[in-house]
Structures are given as structure tokens and as C-alpha cells.
Subunit: 115 residues, 2 copies
């Protein structure tokens, strides 16, 4: 096993490392939405009706801290904040897409209908 540490956490392999950056329930949906357009906080929220403010905020923050998205604040009232994808985020989206297509294939095999 490769086994290494990053920010005090022990990882067993590169897959785990990648999934810790872009995995979880909400990160891929967020990246997916930002893949070809800039979006505001409220806009993102509208297209993800089940996400809570807490999760949206925290996941956006983590994605930004690790360079997958960019946050732009306009100094106005009420606040206006725009999120956009970065070069690194765009690479991640390719992986998201691969997994997404694979997921759809699996769903077919398992007889699951979406929508």
C-alpha cells in the first residue's frame, strides 16, 4: 500500500485522496453546475432544492480553498457573490462526467429509472 498523510489524515491510496477532494454528497453536483457558467449562491441553491445552507456554504468553501472554484464578492447590499470554475475544477469535471456516465450505465443494469 502506498499510504501517506495529508493534513494529518492517513490515506491508503490515490483514489481516497481524490475522493476526499471532490467526493461527498454535494461537491460533484456543485462542480457540475459550474462547469459552463458562473453562478450566484442563490442560483446554485435554486437548482439544488435539497441542499441546506450549511452544506452549500461549507462545500463551496472547501472547493474554493482547494482551488476547484473561484469566489468573487461584489461589495453591494444585499450581498452578491459569484462562483466560477477554475482550470483545476474543469479537470475534476471530466472525472465527474466519467463517473456520471458509469453511474447511468449501472443504473440501467440494475433496472433503475431516473427522473
Amino acid at each position: 500500500m502506498p499510504e501517506f498523510y495529508y493534513r494529518k489524515k492517513l490515506y491508503y491510496n490515490p483514489v481516497e485522496f481524490a475522493m476526499d477532494r471532490i467526493g461527498g454528497t454535494w461537491k460533484m453536483p456543485i462542480l457540475w453546475r459550474l462547469k459552463d457558467r458562473v453562478m450566484r449562491y442563490g442560483e446554485l441553491k435554486k437548482t439544488m432544492p435539497r441542499i441546506s445552507d450549511k452544506m452549500l456554504t461549507s462545500q463551496l468553501k472547501e472547493l474554493e480553498e482547494e482551488g476547484f472554484i473561484k469566489r468573487k464578492v461584489y461589495p453591494v447590499v444585499p450581498p452578491k457573490v459569484e462562483y466560477s470554475i477554475t482550470r483545476r475544477g474543469r479537470k475534476a469535471v471530466r472525472i465527474v462526467n466519467t463517473i456520471r456516465e458509469y453511474g447511468m450505465e449501472l443504473m440501467k443494469e440494475f433496472g433503475v429509472s431516473s427522473g
Copy 2:
């Protein structure tokens, strides 16, 4: 959002569906090891020193139930059980590989050294 149910669980998208089948800490490492050879329970365990019996057993069972691997029991004492990959598992391994390569790329970007 697509949104659908599978076994009483609500999924928001195909990515989540895929990751529920082959995600988690141990499933990909297991599939990866079985990708080109049959392995016994104890052998798998030896190459994954940090996995517990409980996790190894449960993850093997889930992978088998969903058709990613095959379990063959030899009626001998002490027990002998062999695990091998299926056609479906082989497809999954391609995804594992994609994520793995992406993970290594990310690790480089983040300045993480493996091993």
C-alpha cells in the same frame, strides 16, 4: 435533478448511485487487487494490513451481492474461499483506474508524496 429511489434510498444523481456501489474506504482497493487474479480471503487481508475482518467480510459480501465479484467456497477444513472479478467488476475497475490516475495527478499538484 434526476432524483430516484433504489432500495428505499433517495439518490440525487447517477454519480451518487455509482459511488454507493463501489465507493467507501475499501471497495475500490478490493476490486483493484482482484482485477487480474483470483485471491483468497487471507491473501486479500495480507495485502491490506489495515482492514479489519469485519470490513473485509462485509465489503466482499456487498460486492458479491451486487455482482462485481464472485465467491467460490471449497468444502474443506480449514475453510478455503476464493474471490474473483466478474465482467461487471472489470468495468468498475476501469473507473477505479481513472480516479486513481486523477488522484495521483492531484497529489502531485498538492505536493503530496506517496509511499
